[in-house]
Each structure stands twice: as structure tokens, then as C-alpha cells.
């Protein structure tokens, strides 16, 4: 759907800062999240987890747990179906292991009991006999031919023979003559980097309440980024039909990609089927950290050549990612994103994924991109330092722009990178003075953005108000932005529109809330649904006025004659048309179904000042500014919120957050005390500058904004810290002990 090419569009609603429709519920404690509802006769479920990083399950004896008073059901992997599809099979064995446990925290069995305390007591009575196997948690170690094998037979055909069976993916992107390019360089830097796995860190642990009858009909209430995804996974893992499962998404207490998979819903359904009662499962924080989605961990080599005036002549990256105990494609995205900000004559990126005895990687905001771009942007910064060049000028000189053949294949259309870099250069932050032990860093960031499968239904109510039904959980204010786009298109005030999120039985299929897709794709479908309703309203009024349909136009919320030739009929408002709908053909509605493309890539630039303490190795963020192209910011407050929130998650990744595994393969910091996310006192204000370079693929020019902001912070901070500390940092997080060690040699 193309951009509406008016010379200048005067938006009335889009671009304003209206109150979100779920605001009052959320400030008064009324909003119902995953763990907030209960049902009569409900049981409490709890999951037993593996204490081993890697072990064969010899036997499971549940008899003592079953005999405990108050226990109504016990399930193991044997109670779930074995789907043929590999993706669903991975979901099933991740929900409840069958033959092997693959990581510390892997679910093994579950109970449902009449109280939480009985359920807790019961899982301790389950006896699991494990045969412990050798394990591997480091990606480089896992790629060695003699490494313990996490799963056999999972490598794609693209993986060359002779490698460890842990290596599942090999990918390669690029163009041009690398050797010729490097030969033209005045300076070549080659560096290796490592990054730790981090967790999405949503404050609301996974929670669900589920009910499944012996007739195969079931209901699930859960916090998820995609109710249709939950339905597909549950149907496959339980062996029931999708039409028989109704999934309702609760309010969601953060996701960031981490709630795009299924861990507990099939288990709760299996327990409910056995017990004949609804079952609620709420994960603990320890379970969330041990068994739900961390990111990939990585090891990377980057080589870039540059002329003395700052032109990049050639660039090569080799990425080794581990997405835990299952195959995944995150390295493909990391490899494609690595050099996307640059217009390069010769570039190559090679990616590998290797399985390790860690939890299954689940997407986290721009999955794959923050780490690869961190490594690239670190080397670009070091080249600037070595050659005495301004890092912003060098990026402007090499920036991708309209017509650039990107490093991953497509040729870019209208993109906002140059404008974003220029805004950063013009900002007072870039030239503000720095003190001792202080350094300034910057980085570009990129994300593809996504459109995807979307259904929207829009109803004109008989009192002249409007209802929008969409199928994507509202993760950061999307109900507001969808209502705003409906109001804009229909020409009615924002408060006349109410947007609700459908359960899986009330609307057609929608892809999950991911890829920064909702404001773009659901917005686009909403605009089209509104246009369909407008067309119908105009058609009906044309009949009343006895003129051609084409002679009726829609303007300012009213049907009007298109011009003097169409007659002198007074305009009819949406409310007036709605009131007589019963006499003109019945209820009026519009709907739109699409697999949306044209999402429009997104670029951002972050500027960061840090001060390092030479005695402790601690880093303080002094100032932080985010510049990002939003295409069109539908609700600027929530666009800024995405930019600020993503930046701070990146700050956590850069400075403190990491999965720490012991020699025994066990996770050592499965709690918020030791897995330290940024708190308010760690941070300065996060300044934001929104740029609006319209996306040609959306009628209002909207681009997704949610993911790009987590991409630049890793390198922006690493570059600032490296300059402040006088030593190039090549490992994340740059925690105080690691930085102190680097500074003191």
C-alpha cells in the first residue's frame, strides 16, 4: 500500500499526544495481566526443572507426588504429542523434556494441585533418575569437532561436512571483490569480540490460566505477544484442532520479543485435561531467567579497511552465535544487519549458529543485530581514532542512502540514515566539552522492520462511534495509535474510537506482535478498513442523493457532493449516516486482510558520554541522545518511549547484564539481584530527536520504531568507554571488574 503522495498532509489526530485508552486501568491497578485472573475450582500448576546442564532421563517416578493429598494431576513429556514439524517438536520438548534435558532449568514434569504450597511440595516428590552427560555452554567450544553434542542431526544442508554436530546454520551475504578492496586501504583493523547472552527482562513473568475438556475444547488466558502463535503451538503440542482452542491475550507486562514463544500454556492445558479443572501456572523469576528466552551469546571477528580520508574500502565479518540448545536463524539476521548502515563496494558477512546447553534463544528486540553491529561499529570507531578522523563525518561519508546496494542484497529505497547522522552532528551534544576520564561514543543502528499477516475489522456503531477489532497484543500503546489512525481516516475525534484486541475465535489470523510491525501493519490495515467503510457510506449516500457513487467524497468526517455538478446536498456526518444505516442497507463495517510488505527499514544514531572510574572500573552514563527516523510518529510520546526504553536496555547489555554459567553448566545469576538490569539511579535523562522521512510503503509514511533503539547502545557505549579508558574494549558486558582488568592490564 503506497504512501499517500499529497504535497503536504495536515494530520488532525496523527502526531498528537492523546491519552492512551488503557491508561486509567493501568494506573489504578485494574488492568488484568496474565496472573491476575482466577476461575472457580481452579488448580495451581508448578513445573519441575532439571538441575543438570545436560543429562539423559533414565526414569521419572511420579507416584509419590500423585499420592499427595490435594494433587489432581501430574504430567511429563509423555503426556504431550510428538509433532512431526521440527519447529513444533522443539516447542513440545522445550515445554516438557522427553529423553534428554538440554540445559539447567529444562522442564521435566508438572503438577496441578489445590494450592500453590501443595504444588510446590508435590514437585519435590517427583523422582527423576538422570544419567549426566558432558555439557558445553560456550559458543567457540561448542563448534570444536570434539565438543559434547547437544542434539544430533540438526544441521542444515548449508553446513559443510566435518564440523561439530552442534553447528546447525551457515549463511553468507555480500558483494564485491574483498581482496581488491583491502588492497586499496591505508589502514586495516581486524578485531575479535565476545558478547554475553542477556534476557529481555520483562517485569511480568509468563503466566496463564488454561482449561481443556476431554472433548478437545479449550480456553487459554495468557500474557503473550501473539495469541494465534499460542493457539498453533498448543494445538500441535496437545494434538487438538486449532478451531477448538480459544486463546485470549491478557494485558502484557513487557515482552520485547520474549513472549513470542510458548512455555507453559501447553503444560497447563495437559494438566487441565487430566484433572478436569482449570489450571493456572505462573512462572517464578528464577524460572523466567533459567528457562525462557535469553538472547544469543556471540563470538565475532570483524575486519575493515579504510583510506586515510575515511572511505571504507572493504569489510568482512564472521559471526558465531549460539541460540542455546536448539537450532535458530538469528545469526542470519545478525549477518544481514552487520554492515547495513554502509554503502560498500566489497563486503562479506559469514554466520554460524552452534547449539550449547543453554535455554532456547527467544527473540529480543532486533534479534541478532545489536551484537553484530556492536562489533562493526567498534572497528569503525577504532579506525577513526587511528586515522584521526571525526567518527560522524566518516559515517556520513560511507552512509547507505537511497539507491545503495545493501550489504545483504536489496537496494535501499527512501531511508533516513543521512538525515539522522546530520541531526546528530548538528545537535549541541556532539560538541559539548568533556572532562577527565570521560569519553564520547556514537553508533549507527539498523533494523529491517516487518509487516506480515494482519486482519482488522472496523465497525461503525449506530450512535456514530467506531469500534476497531485487531489481533495484536498492545505492548507499548498500540491501541492508542490504531485508534488515532482510524480517527484520522474517518475524520472523527479520537475519543469516538475504541480499539479492542480480539481472541483467536473472534478475528482471522494475525502474526505475532514482533518486527516492529503493529503500528505499521495493523495501522495500514486499519486505514484500509476505514476506507472500505467510507466507500460504503459514500455509496449509500449517493443512492439517497440519487447521484453517482464517484460524485460523493469523504471530507472532515462527512459525505459531501464532490463538486457543483453533484448538486447542493448538505454534508452528512458519519453519525447521521450511522443513525439511518438500518434503512440504507444494514450495519456498516469495513475490514481488511493483508500480508503487509513495504515495512521500510529503520535507522538510528545514538550519542553517549561516559565517565569511567579508574579505581573501580565502574562506568557512569553522563549524557545520552537518541536520533531515529520514525517515518511518521503517530503518537510521539510512545515513539520517544520506544527510543528511551530500547536505549536503556542496550545500556544494560553494554554495562552489566549477562548470563553467567559455572563450570557445572548451571546458571549462577537467576534473579534480579545478580542479573542486574538498569535502575533509575544508574541513568541520566534520555534525550530524543525524532526524524520523519516517510516510508513509501505506508499511507501515512509510518515505519516501525520499536527495535532499532536497542541496536546502537552497545557500540555507542563501548566506543565512549574505550575512548574514556584509553583501551579498546572488545567484550560485553563491560562490567566493572572486566573494565578494571582492561585498564590495569
Amino acid at each position: 500500500m503506497a504512501f499517500d503522495a499529497q504535497a503536504e498532509r495536515n494530520f488532525k489526530v496523527v502526531g498528537t499526544r492523546v491519552a492512551r485508552p488503557d491508561g486509567i486501568d493501568k494506573v489504578t491497578g485494574k488492568a488484568a495481566y496474565g496472573a491476575d485472573i482466577s476461575a472457580p475450582g481452579m488448580l495451581h500448576g508448578r513445573i519441575l526443572r532439571s538441575p543438570h546442564a545436560h543429562a539423559r532421563i533414565v526414569s521419572i517416578d511420579t507416584s509419590a507426588a500423585e499420592a499427595l493429598a490435594g494433587v489432581k494431576a501430574v504430567v511429563t513429556g509423555a503426556d504431550l504429542a510428538q509433532p512431526e514439524d521440527e519447529g513444533f517438536a522443539d516447542v513440545a520438548i522445550n515445554c516438557l523434556a522427553r529423553d534428554k534435558v538440554l540445559y539447567d532449568g529444562h522442564a521435566v514434569a508438572a503438577v496441578a494441585a489445590t494450592s500453590k504450597s501443595i504444588a510446590k511440595q508435590a514437585i519435590r516428590l517427583i523422582k527423576v533418575d538422570y544419567a549426566v552427560l558432558p555439557h558445553v555452554t560456550d559458543v567457540d567450544a561448542a563448534m570444536k569437532p570434539d565438543a559434547p553434542v547437544v542434539q544430533e542431526g540438526r544441521a542444515l544442508e548449508t553446513v559443510p561436512a566435518g564440523m561439530s554436530q552442534n553447528v546447525t546454520t551457515h549463511c553468507q551475504f555480500g558483494h564485491g571483490d574483498l581482496d581488491a578492496g583491502f588492497a586499496k586501504a591505508d589502514k586495516i583493523i581486524e578485531r575479535s569480540f565476545k558478547t554475553a547472552a542477556t534476557h529481555q527482562g520483562y517485569i511480568e513473568p509468563q503466566a496463564c490460566m488454561a482449561s481443556l475438556g476431554s472433548d478437545g475444547r479449550g480456553e487459554v488466558w495468557c500474557c503473550t505477544q501473539g495469541q494465534y502463535m499460542v493457539r498453533a503451538n498448543c494445538a500441535a503440542v496437545l494434538g487438538v484442532e486449532e478451531s477448538q482452542l480459544r486463546i485470549t491475550s491478557s494485558e502484557i507486562g513487557g515482552g520485547f520479543g520474549g513472549k513470542t514463544s510458548t512455555f507453559i500454556e501447553p503444560v497447563a492445558l495437559a494438566l487441565s485435561r487430566k484433572a478436569g479443572k482449570p489450571v493456572k501456572i505462573v512462572m517464578t523469576r528464577d524460572e523466567v531467567l533459567k528457562a525462557t528466552g535469553p538472547t544469543i551469546s556471540s563470538s565475532m571477528d570483524i575486519k575493515i579497511g579504510m583510506t586515510k580520508d575515511g572511505r571504507i574500502t572493504a569489510a568482512r565479518g564472521e559471526l558465531r552465535y549460539s541460540g542455546g540448545a536448539y537450532p535458530n536463524a538469528t545469526v542470519d539476521m545478525g549477518a544481514q544487519a552487520a554492515f547495513a548502515a554502509y554503502d560498500l563496494e566489497a563486503v562479506e558477512t559469514v554466520g554460524w549458529n552452534a547449539m550449547t546447553n543453554r535455554p532456547k534463544e527467544i527473540p529480543y528486540r532486533a534479534p541478532g543485530a545489536p551484537t553484530s553491529i556492536y562489533a562493526v561499529e567498534s572497528v569503525v570507531d577504532e579506525l577513526c581514532q587511528e586515522l584521526g578522523l571525526d567518527p560522524l563525518d566518516v559515517r556520513l561519508l560511507n552512509a547507505a542512502r537511497k539507491g545503495t546496494l545493501s550489504s545483504y542484497g536489496p537496494t535501499f529505497n527512501d531511508i533516513g540514515l543521512v538525515a539522522t547522522l546530520e541531526a546528530a552532528k548538528a545537535h549541541p551534544h556532539y560538541t559539548a566539552p568533556l572532562g577527565p576520564n570521560q569519553g564520547r561514543g556514537l553508533s549507527c543502528g539498523f533494523w529491517f522492520n516487518f509487516g506480515g499477516n494482519t486482519c482488522v475489522s472496523l465497525n461503525i456503531n449506530d450512535d456514530g462511534t467506531v469500534g476497531v477489532v485487531e489481533g495484536n497484543p498492545d505492548i507499548g500503546g498500540s491501541r492508542a495509535s490504531i485508534s488515532m489512525m482510524a480517527a484520522e481516516e474517518l475524520g472523527v475525534p479520537y475519543d469516538k474510537v475504541r480499539t479492542v484486541i480480539a481472541d483467536t475465535s473472534s478475528l482471522g489470523f494475525n502474526d505475532i506482535t514482533d518486527g516492529s510491525r503493529v503500528t505499521f501493519a495493523v495501522g495500514l490495515a486499519t486505514i484500509e478498513a476505514a476506507r472500505a467503510a467510507i466507500k460504503e457510506m459514500c455509496r449509500r449516500i449517493a443512492k439517497i442523493w440519487d447521484i453517482d457513487e464517484d460524485a460523493v467524497i469523504w471530507e472532515d468526517g462527512c459525505a459531501k457532493p464532490a463538486g457543483p455538478n453533484a448538486g447542493t446536498h448538505p454534508p452528512m456526518s458519519l453519525a447521521e449516516i450511522a443513525a439511518i444505516a438500518g434503512n440504507t442497507g444494514g450495519p456498516i463495517a469495513g475490514h481488511h486482510e493483508v500480508n503487509a510488505d513495504g515495512a521500510g527499514v529503520s535507522f538510528g544514531v545514538h550519542l553517549c558520554d561516559t565517565e569511567v572510574d579508574p579505581e573501580t572500573g565502574a562506568t557512569k552514563i553522563l549524557r545520552y541522545t537518541v536520533f531515529q527516523d520514525a517515518g511518521k510518529a503517530v503518537h510521539p510520546d510512545y515513539v520517544e518511549g520506544q527510543m528511551q526504553g530500547g536505549a536503556v536496555q542496550g545500556i544494560g547489555w553494554a554495562l552489566n547484564e549477562e548470563y553467567i554459567y559455572g563450570e557445572d553448566g548451571r546458571l549462577q545469576n537467576a534473579g534480579f539481584l545478580d542479573y542486574r538490569v538498569p535502575v533509575a539511579s544508574d541513568l541520566p535523562d534520555i534525550e530524543t530527536v525524532i526524524l520523519e522521512i516517510p516510508n513509501p510503503g505506508h499511507p501515512y509514511g509510518v515505519r516501525g520504531v520499536g527495535e532499532t533503539p536497542i541496536v546502537p547502545p552497545l557500540a555507542a557505549i563501548a566506543n565512549a568507554v574505550s575512548r574514556a579508558a584509553g583501551v579498546r574494549m572488545t567484550e560485553l558486558p563491560m562490567s566493572p571488574p572486566r573494565l578494571l582488568k582492561a585498564m590495569t592490564g
Partner: protein, 158 residues
Amino acid sequence: MKTIPVETTINGDSTEFLCQPDESLLDVLRDRLGMTGAKEGCGTGDCGACSVMLDGRLVCACLVLGVEAQGAEVETIEGMANGEELHPLQRVFVEEAALQCGVCTPGILVAAKALLEKNPDPTDTEVRYWLAGNLCRCTGYDKIIKAVQTAAAEMRSA
């Protein structure tokens, strides 16, 4: 385990409940009294999502036993608005978009109200340190700090 009868006052209403001796105040509020405004983000006192007031003191309800509420005054997010009238902090949080997913919001509002009752004119740094026990993963805290200051200024001039 035998349950113990507890008499307490919650948001000004006298309330009686039975709970087990090892049951947290948070579980009592959520599971026995249906007051789900306080959230469990960690159960270890690290995230602040279950912040409530106990006899005028800001506490994590997950670290307090239900039986400790005996004879005490408990205040929760459910008691913050006066009927239809929102507390200035609640209203400003909506007006200034100081929440995204909203799951940390009840705890942050309870904590921020406690701060402004103690210190009606805090610096930004004081707000940041006071709220350091309340994790928010969505906003980066920027709009939260600004909203607390807007509400504080409004309350001072009221």
C-alpha cells in the same frame, strides 16, 4: 498447616482474612482478597512491583508475611484514587505517557506517593534514588521521573 485469622485495615476498610503462617502479604492480597493491583515480578524484593504501604512504611508485599498485617494499616494501589478522582500522580502518568506495559506502574505510583509525602520537592536525583528499587523495563525511566516532578509541582501549588 493451619490457617491463622488476621484483622487488618486495607485502604481504610477493616478486613479479616485467614492465611497460612508462611504466606506472603502479596499472596494474601492477590489470591485471597482479589486485589491484584500489586504484581509479583520477582518474589525476592528486587523489582518493587508489589510495593504497598504498611503502617506508613513503603514495603515489598512479597517480603512481608500476611500475618504481619495483624492490626496494621495497609495501603495499596487500589486505594490511591478517590472514587473517580485520580491522584495527581496517576493522572500525570497517563497524561505524560509515563507507562508503557504498565505492570510496574502500580508499584512505582505507590513508591512515588510515599516519596512526595516525605519530600514534596525532591531533586531529579532524589527521585531516581528513591525509585531505584522499582524496576521498569519499558520506559528507560525518563518519562517516569518527569511525571513524578510534574505531579510534585502540581501538589505543591494545590
